[in-house]
Symmetry: C2
Subunit: 107 residues, 2 copies
DNA sequence: GGTTCATATGATATGTAATTCATATAAAAG
DNA sequence: CTTTTATATGAATTACATATCATATGAACC
């Protein structure tokens, strides 16, 4: 493996499952089970996604007894999401059919 | 199509070809042919990549006679690349075997 | 108008990462 | 120490974006 950090950076985030997770975590910490329920995803699907997000430093976790609480790594995720929001607003507001809705869950 | 702008944002960038193009364009504008030569990519490969970058507002273009000159859209790309550099530095310096090299072309 | 150079478009095949399913670990509780 | 709850791991299939190849458009020059 060489210096393909940029590719990994984007590839990891280019996924409905992980983005829906990030969207929920942007409102506060959550556990694997909670995410799995709210998104109607298999537990293992959420777990796989969280682990790859964690490996790249997008989320951090803390064990609480049996459960594992995940949250966004604020230093990267907050400015990143703001940057994307601004870009999306500017370039794609017109192309987006759902007015005022910044986010909609994706299968 | 619904509001999947976030997914598109990352999906478009999660690609060696487009990232190598962005890397070159970060040093200045270039044409399809120049990029194709420098990267040893098929012309159509570069063209496809540039068009999808353009559709999402990552690059802008200007026709110059027969050639088409592409450049990065500075408002989004400059802060984005800086943000990623910082994150990659912080979280992955240790995992990267090639010291001091920020970028290496990828097949 | 015909030819050449530069880029774009479209359809199919290919390659890679996510999903799924089965199972393993880990922690608490009885 | 067995059971239950919560999460993680691994292997195989599936799904989807990219690469390729063939062709089309577009601009300049004769």
């Amino acid at each position: 493996m060489i210096c393909n950090s940029y590719k990994s950076f984007f590839k990891i985030l280019a996924d409905d499952c992980k983005l829906n997770i990030i969207n929920i975590l942007s409102k506060g910490p959550s556990t694997v089970g909670e995410l799995s329920q709210r998104l109607h995803y298999e537990q293992s699907r959420v777990s796989h996604a969280l682990i790859s997000l964690k490996e790249f430093g997008f989320v951090i976790n803390k064990r609480n007894g049996k459960t594992q609480e995940y949250q966004l790594e604020p230093k990267i995720m907050i400015p990143l999401l703001r940057l994307i929001d601004e870009h999306v607003d500017k370039y794609h507001r017109s192309k987006c059919t759902c007015k005022g809705v910044r986010w909609r869950e994706m299968k």
